[in-house]
């Protein structure tokens, strides 16, 4: 959430904020400055702390100057953000700056109000050096906080009169707002006392609990993930995959900021938080950089693992693919194996991949990888629980070197000719397509046996059809395990294709392909 959005919420709660508005162009900046009719401050709306040092905050004494300075600000890069919105506010006549915030303490397991008589930057250092200057108040959820309690506390700290009344009201309101919005943290820094004696929230940072976002449709939050920056386009695509499919968990986060063909970058695909973290440490120890963090766990279907892999492989310049979890996962590992196989085949993977699938049915999973991926260009090696993440990372480093540090090229999504499939049914997130003409040449009818859910049967002509209603298949009886497609592809007529769309990915890849083909040495 941006500063101006958080400030609007403060205002609704009755906390004073500077007069001002958001502008999207220098012209709008001029208009707002004219209306304010006094010196203004221009604040670039980016998710960064320390904006001032990075040139994201500028002052102007006239509308003309504001417009001129705004021209410098719009479109400029601050950190990794491009400035698109600028908050134009009256410049405050500052008498004193305080710090006020609320955070959840994992030790006492309660919200804590933090107030410091010194605001601005360097507040953490002050808290460590001189803890007495920082007031902390642990709040009981059942009791809440009363304004008079706050007032007594501040009075004992030497505050009095109008300032005391204003401070206790503001801090109490901050807690009320944080509780109402279910904020993991809410900070006002600085909380400004003006020369005319008003207490005004000059800046605000709000982080709402992403587990509670579903209860707050009123908030302008697009992707409920704890990012410290706006989500990237690829992260949005991934988030929508997760949102449509409650089976298992899929989490995707891009980590690399500037990528270039020279980077020793890998696509990372973990399973489970702890195992993923351990596995990331192992690949980084081999001198790799991570393009992304990804976690598919909690027993996801093969289709979800497939989509995760295709999203990971939408990132350019990867030198390798590393998938690794805890080593003793309770979920059936062949689902992950099949998802990866389908993705790598369709991708025609040219970079090496090391897949560590320790856990339930790991031998079968490794066998699936080795059997079905022996023909792709990149070497794919599968490992089980007996091989450590460290060893697997070392194998990847060796394979990448043997491969001459070849970069992964993002390619357009390619689908087979859909018109040849005469039989089809919908699944929870996709469609199973069967070429019944090709089925006529089939000897084994192995897809029936391969189907883990047992929802296929042969019709009178010996072709696979559903033995349940299409509605049941769509509700989830077809588990999207991909076993029928892979069996048919490798042992029979390639008559089955499972279409698993990823909305937005085709367009995204077009842009990446254009970026990839720019002259060498170009930076993002």
């Amino acid at each position: 959430m941006f500063e101006y959005q958080a400030k609007k919420l403060l205002k609704e709660q009755g906390i004073k904020i500077p007069r001002g508005e958001v502008a999207h162009s220098p012209e709008e900046v001029y208009q707002i400055a004219v209306q304010l009719n006094r010196p203004v401050v221009l604040k670039a709306q980016v998710w960064l702390t320390g904006r001032a040092e990075k040139g994201g905050i500028l002052f102007a004494s006239s509308p003309e100057e504001a417009k001129q300075k705004a021209q410098e600000l719009f479109g400029r890069k601050i950190g990794k953000f491009t400035v698109e919105e600028v908050l134009v506010e009256e410049k405050l006549a500052i008498a004193h700056e305080y710090f006020a915030g609320l955070v959840i303490d994992d030790h006492v397991k309660k919200p804590v109000i933090v107030f410091s008589s010194v605001g601005g930057t360097g507040i953490e250092e002050l808290a460590q050096k001189d803890p007495a200057k920082v007031l902390r108040l642990t709040v009981s959820l059942s009791q809440g906080i009363k304004e008079f309690e706050m007032r007594n506390l501040l009075r004992r700290r030497g505050f009095q009169g109008k300032l005391l009344a204003q401070l206790s009201a503001t801090l109490t309101k901050l807690y009320t707002l944080a509780r109402q919005l279910e904020a993991r943290s809410l900070e006002v820094n600085p909380l400004v006392l003006t020369e005319s004696g008003d207490l005004i929230a000059a800046d605000c940072h709000l982080a709402v609990d992403d587990y509670a976002v579903f209860r707050h449709p009123e908030l302008p939050i697009e992707v409920a993930r704890e990012f410290d920056r706006p989500p990237t386009p690829l992260e949005k695509i991934a988030y929508h995959v997760e949102k449509r499919d409650y089976r298992g968990t899929f989490y995707f986060l891009q980590m690399a900021e500037d990528v270039s063909p020279e980077d020793k970058m890998i696509g990372f695909h973990g399973a489970g938080g702890g195992g993923s973290m351990m596995s990331m440490d192992a690949v980084l120890a081999q001198g790799f950089k991570l393009a992304n963090y990804c976690d598919t766990s909690g027993n996801p279907p093969a289709s979800k693992v497939y989509r995760a892999a295709r999203i990971i492989l939408s990132q350019p310049y990867l030198k390798g693919y590393f998938a690794s979890g805890s080593g003793a996962a309770s979920q059936e590992q062949y689902h992950s194996a099949r998802g990866l196989v389908k993705a790598f085949l369709e991708e025609n993977l040219a970079i090496p991949a090391v897949i560590r699938l320790g856990g339930n049915y790991e031998n079968l999973a490794v066998q699936i990888l080795h059997t079905y991926l022996s023909r792709v260009k990149g070497v794919v090696e599968g490992y089980g629980h007996a091989d450590s993440a460290e060893y697997c990372a070392q194998r990847l480093a060796e394979l990448v070197e043997e491969n001459g540090f070849l970069s992964h090229q993002v390619s357009p999504l390619v689908y087979p000719d859909f018109s040849r499939f005469s039989y089809r049914f919908s699944t929870m997130t996709g469609e199973v397509l069967v070429d019944h003409q090709a089925c006529a040449r089939c000897q084994t009818k192995g897809c029936i046996k391969a189907c883990l859910a047992g929802i296929l049967t042969l019709d009178q002509d010996g072709r696979p059809v559903l033995n349940i209603s299409p509605a049941e298949a769509q509700r989830g009886k077809c588990t999207e395990c991909l076993a029928c497609e892979l069996f048919c592809k490798f042992h029979e007529q390639e008559a089955i294709y499972i279409y698993l769309p990823i909305p937005g990915l085709e367009e995204y890849r077009r842009q990446i392909i254009a970026f990839q083909t720019r002259p060498k040495g170009g930076k993002n």
Partner: protein, 299 residues
């Protein structure tokens, strides 16, 4: 002995008729856990895996007698209601399995638990197992595998990662090192029983001779374990692994958070604090069996 649960622990399953509830009831029952009943409002009178279902916790206790532990398998948004019901009925330990429980819901649950002198494990936990005695939650996946992976012995296992809880225990078993109890404290930023609390309970357990810890960056749990060791409150040896060495530090999310943590929470501070306290920090979880064996001999 073991900690928190054993063969005599009477367990209630809240949300027993749901998808997870059913599957895990089967797991727990087959493992030998003493399941006294289940609760799903509106489904009283049914049975799941031979376990009677009641409309409320109160009714379950009235009919079946006292309950020691309630394990909760309801959707995240309903966890608060279920946990408060269990605590209000006098249950002294709730195991909160679901992930994505809203943090203020959790804080309310924990406040209620504290006022009732009760404990919560989780949320976002696979649960816990005292090998050969009882299993609560979903750890191991299937009873047969849980019996094969987890064996009774002297090592206490405590982890913030579910997958790694099983993995560490499995590698210990393979090396001939059994476990007293295996506890997944849950992966969230705030949890009920955390590393410091569990380690303190292991300290008082006669069966436990050594403790293994899987820590992660974030929160102050590992540093607080180090504090306990330094204060002499923990005397049993600890071997720890810390995940997240690679995570980017420097993205300071919140000033207030930093003030509360007081410079704690990062990989470096955790490692330094633990090592200063004399805790062995290993670089790979494959080192656990070797380092545990070394210390078991020297006792």
């Amino acid at each position: 002995m073991a900690i928190l649960i054993d063969e005599n622990t009477r367990v209630l399953v809240q949300g027993i008729t749901g998808r997870e509830g059913r599957v895990r009831t089967k797991l727990m029952k087959e493992y030998g856990t003493c399941l006294v009943g289940g609760v799903t409002p509106g489904r009283g009178g049914e049975e799941v895996e031979g376990v009677p279902v009641f409309d409320s916790v109160e009714e379950a206790i009235e009919t079946q007698g006292p309950v020691d532990v309630s394990v909760i398998f309801v959707p995240a948004s309903l966890v608060k209601e279920a946990a408060l019901e269990g605590l209000a009925a006098g249950i002294k330990m709730c195991v909160l399995i679901p992930d994505r429980v809203p943090i203020y819901d959790l804080l309310e649950i924990l406040e209620m638990a504290a006022s009732k002198r009760a404990h919560c494990l989780g949320p976002n936990t696979l649960g816990l197992v005292s090998p050969g005695k009882a299993l609560v939650g979903m750890i191991g996946g299937r009873a047969e595998r849980a019996r094969q992976w987890f064996r009774s012995g002297p090592v206490g296992v405590c982890s913030r990662s579910g997958g790694m809880t099983s993995a560490i225990s499995y590698y210990l078993t393979e090396a001939g090192l059994g476990q007293s109890s295996i506890v997944h404290v849950g992966g969230d930023a705030v949890v009920g029983l955390g590393h410091p609390e569990i380690v303190a309970i292991f300290e008082n357990d006669p069966q436990t001779e050594i403790i293994t810890l899987f820590g992660e960056i974030g929160t102050t749990q590992e540093e607080r374990v180090a504090d306990l060791v330094k204060q002499g409150k923990i005397t049993k040896p600890i071997v720890a692994y810390l995940g997240g060495k690679a995570a980017k530090s420097g993205t300071r999310f919140s000033h207030a958070g930093a003030i509360i943590e007081g410079g704690r929470g990062s990989y470096e501070t955790k490692k330094r604090c633990l090592e200063e306290a004399g805790v062995k920090v290993v670089d790979s979880i494959f080192d656990f069996p070797r380092e545990v064996k070394k210390r078991l001999k020297t006792i």
